[in-house]
Amino acid sequence: MTVTVGVVVFPGTNCEHDVAAATERLGASARLVWHADGRLGDVDAVVLPGGFAHGDYLRPGAIARFAPVMAAVETFAAGGGPVVGICNGFQVLTEAHLLPGALQKNRGLRFVCETVEVEVASDRSVLTRGVDPGRRLRIPINHFEGSYTCDPDTLAELVGQDRIALRYTDNPNGSVADIAGVCNEAGNVVGLMPHPERACDPLLGSDDGLVLLGALIASSGAPLTGSPAAATATA
């Protein structure tokens, strides 16, 4: 059975084709899901790709979170379905309160596009499941508002529950605790600022992103019984 990945498109999203191409490279099939649709259809995983939904006006993700598709994403996530927000998608997930914290302007007050090194900090998320913690990956970042912020209690909870999926080895944006990606308690909802889809082809300089997207597709295909995600979802 091929895994079907639903890739959500808001007006202003721009990485949807890239995410689709990268997941297809891994043998999955990708389906674009329009923001105004209230249903996701028959998908095994959902990716909210990068871009500038609604121009990032007001705050990145602030308008997108009210789109009809987001109710469907919430239901899908509540049922244990894998949901990954990349960059702008991460911002949407925090605005929708599917993930804690917020993404502020980079410490340097400038947009940053470059390849950085991240370290897998936890294998509890659907994006890092089966990947050895401590593994380092070279993946591009591309954002202005990527400085992860949360209050100390939330940070303690994230650390205590092993929910920091990825950390920068050389913090490019001022994120608290070098956080590059976090997940929810169940591990099935993940947000990250780096763009794994941009690192899926040696011709483009790195294919380390296949590690993350491969993990996502593997955890979407396999029935989630016994996984922390399914345990929480059915609890």
């Binding site: 202003g12 721009n14 890239d18 500038f52 121009g55 400038r110 947009f111 082809d201």
Partner: protein, 743 residues
């Protein structure tokens, strides 16, 4: 219908046309075209359409001398963008534009709207924009205002380009005092399209509808093109204040939706024609589509969706509000067009109808009062054409004789070398340069190299295209003809360095005040130099832009033609070697025998000694053409481990950039003195090559009629040039990055 009704309100006060920037002769010509005195709206439309920016009235007679034809050229100059056949059913649309004057007064929005404008030129052709480039020139960064301009321009390109979702894959950053009062902000865009989707901006089919898509129309940049682009900066505060309301604000989110909506409309075959609204707004778009289609158009100004109350017809017709397109559609397809627009949340209003009359009529409501009635084609074709006086600058011979080789040599060449390095990563780090998973070589190398692929454009699998933008005001001020030819040569060589075959160019001619005969002479010479080089190298000029009146306080900028070269890669299987040394590999300089670099107009002379004299090194175009073939072939075959052409800063800077690029030093010899180190000249490439391939490389160079001079070997953490330079690579890198401290 009020057919036959005549527009009211003839203007008989010459003060009005003069205020609009029309000369008395031009106003007289308008009267003759109409057979009556024009009214205010008509005058305003002619004024913007006949402005320097829209009509190229000072440059057109010269531009005709450029070679514009070639086997792969599908669309040449004169359309919104040039289009080149890339084979396999894929075509590449290419265009470059300037946004110099708006950027001088509101750097962020000036640059941002420059990006927006160039994108529309590309998707108007039916192409999906896939790459932007930004050749930039500012005053030195130790000046507060130049710093403000530079930071704002870069932020504006970043803010708009990233949000609209088109990667910025390269450009230039140059600092020179001549740009302090008048920065140059050029923007290039390339787009890909299936050949059969190619559309031209024309209206046909009587009864078809003109639909205005996108942003509401406000009083943005009313008369902007004539006011801003057709006048220099006098340094007069009141005059600059008066220009202020002409600044427009860009909305990349609107543009993104417009791109998607228009491409969908084209894919669904719902459009007869489409045209972007740029300079001169609706007046330009309606008359241009009508005259290209050989038809007329009635425009209902009241149907234009507006942002502000109380706008007059002339304001609506000449507004330069951003993010708008004019679509020509059959009445039958209107409903489906509106549905596509609704999906993308793009506003659409039917504002015009195609008529048989050949006239552009502006109406106050269908069947309402006729506000303007002019022959549509006259707004373009009857624009004045000037052969302005030209004069060779009086000081040119004196400057040519003032050879910088006579300057005392540097005491520490290594120190001068470090001071000439500039790492532009501070700039391009702020640009998304990777979107669409196409960017094989992004900014930071000789040219950008992209896969020939875009959503909705099949047929380019396994192939690529390359782009480089280049200009050199110092060379061109010494000798605009030879300097421009050198710029063309360099640009083509940059593209070859990533393994691409140069196939076409576009250009942006940034010059001073055309009313100065010296400037017109420079322009004319530059065109001849470009024509000569392009002809010899087989590079058709498929498009361009002319930006005049680049001056401040009476001083013209150095003549700065910017050339962008497009190259094609037939087999894109591996990443090209890049600007780097590899430890253990040999370093070889390949050049035509007898090459003599010159310090005339060189970075070293200008920047280290403030010296702007001398002669340029000669260019042998036949040899250069052979070199291009050689370099493309060597790189495509994967022979070298590093490659870099020698350009501004000479061999020394090229070697230093390779050391910094790969983080590996080299031990080299064979450079005699500072002239050899910093002298500039065409047709030189440095290769780094594994020892076992050295013989092949040397042989292939000889077969191409080149000499291959072995300079030494890569390795270590210092760049050593026997007897001249001995610097740590880390120190060179730090010096190059030093620039970032200024922003």
């Amino acid at each position: 219908m009020s057919a036959g009704a005549r527009p009211e309100g003839a203007v008989d006060d010459p003060g009005v046309h003069r205020a609009l920037g029309l000369t008395d002769d031009e106003a007289g010509a308008i009267g003759r075209i109409l057979g009556r005195a024009p009214n205010h709206l008509e005058l305003a439309m002619y004024a913007v359409m006949w402005s320097e920016h829209c009509s190229y009235k000072s440059s057109r007679i010269h531009l005709r001398r450029l070679p514009t034809e070639g086997p792969g050229v599908l669309v040449g100059p004169g359309e919104n963008a040039g289009v080149v056949d890339a084979g396999g059913g894929v075509a590449i649309a290419l265009r470059i534009e300037s946004h110099n004057h708006p950027s001088a007064i509101e750097p962020y929005q000036g640059a941002a709207t420059g990006v927006g404008g160039i994108l529309r030129d590309i998707f108007t052709m039916g192409a999906r924009p896939v790459a932007l480039m930004d050749p930039l020139r500012f005053g030195p960064l130790d000046d507060d205002r130049s710093r403000w301009v530079a930071a704002g321009v870069v932020a504006g390109i970043s803010g708009y380009g990233n949000a609209v979702g088109v990667p910025t894959v390269g450009g230039e950053v140059v600092f020179d005092g001549c740009y302090a009062g008048n920065p140059l902000v050029n923007v290039l865009c390339a787009g890909l399209l299936p050949v059969e989707r190619l559309v031209l901006g024309q209206a046909t089919g009587v009864g078809n509808l003109a639909v205005l898509l996108g942003s509401a129309t406000g009083r943005d940049g009313i008369g902007g093109v004539s006011v801003l682009a057709s006048a220099g900066f006098g340094g007069d505060a009141a005059a600059e204040e008066a220009k202020r309301p002409n600044v427009q604000v860009g909305d990349p989110y609107e543009e993104k939706r417009l791109i998607e909506a228009c491409l969908q409309l084209l894919d669904e075959h719902l459009l007869v024609g489409i045209q972007d609204l740029g300079g001169a707004g609706l007046a330009c778009a309606t008359s241009e589509t009508a005259s290209r289609g050989g038809v007329g158009m009635d425009v209902d100004v009241t149907a234009v969706h507006r942002r502000e109350p109380g706008m007059r017809a002339w304001e609506v017709m000449t507004s330069e509000s951003q993010e708008r397109m004019l679509a020509i559609v059959t009445p039958d397809d209107l409903e489906r067009l509106l549905a596509v627009c609704e999906r993308w949340e793009v506003r659409a209003s039917v504002v015009g109808r195609v008529t048989t009359t050949g006239r552009l009529r502006v109406l106050e409501g269908w069947g309402g009062e006729v506000q303007a009635d002019v022959p549509a084609a006259s707004l373009h074709e009857d624009a004045p054409l000037y052969d302005r006086p030209r004069r060779r600058p009086a000081d040119l011979d004196r400057r040519a004789d003032d050879d910088p080789a006579r300057l005392p040599p540097p005491e520490d060449p290594g120190k001068d070398l470090a001071a000439l390095l500039l790492d532009p990563s501070w700039v391009y780090r702020q640009y998304d340069h990777q979107l669409f998973l196409n960017t094989v070589v992004g900014p930071g190398s000789d040219a950008a190299l992209l896969r020939l692929a875009a959503p909705g454009v099949p047929g380019g699998e396994g192939r690529g295209f390359a782009l480089s933008t280049d200009g050199n005001g110092s060379w061109c001020s010494l000798d605009p003809r030879a300097g421009t030819a050198l710029v063309v040569a360099e640009s083509a060589l940059n593209v070859a360095c990533v393994g691409a075959r140069p196939v076409a160019v576009v250009n942006c001619l940034n010059f001073g005040n055309p009313e100065h005969p010296e400037v017109m002479w420079q322009l004319s010479e530059a065109v001849d130099g470009m024509a000569e080089a392009c002809r010899a190298l087989g590079l058709p000029v498929v498009g361009g832009n002319v930006s005049l009146y680049n001056e401040s306080r009476g001083a013209d900028i150095d003549p700065t033609p910017v050339v962008a070269t497009l190259g094609l890669v037939d087999r894109l299987e591996r990443r090209p070697p890049g600007v780097a040394f590899a430890a253990g590999d040999r370093v070889v300089l390949v050049q035509p025998p007898g090459t003599r670099p010159s310090l005339g107009g060189s970075l070293w002379a200008v920047r280290r000694r403030g010296h702007r004299g001398g002669r340029l090194s000669p260019l042998d175009l036949a040899a250069h053409l052979r070199l291009l073939g050689l370099v493309t072939g060597l790189v495509a075959d994967g022979l070298p481990s590093g490659v870099h052409d020698v350009s501004a800063g000479g061999l020394g800077v090229a070697l230093a950039e390779m050391a910094v690029g790969g983080g590996v030093g080299a031990a080299l010899a064979g450079v005699a003195d500072h002239v050899g180190l910093f002298g500039e000249g065409p047709s030189r490439v440095v290769f780094c090559v594994p020892p076992d391939r050295l013989g092949t490389l040397t042989q292939r160079a000889r077969d191409a009629g080149m000499e291959a001079v072995e300079l030494g070997g890569g390795g270590g953490d210092r760049l050593v040039l026997d007897g001249l330079v001995d610097v740590a690579v880390a120190d060179l890198a730090a010096a190059a990055r030093g620039i970032a401290g200024w922003w």
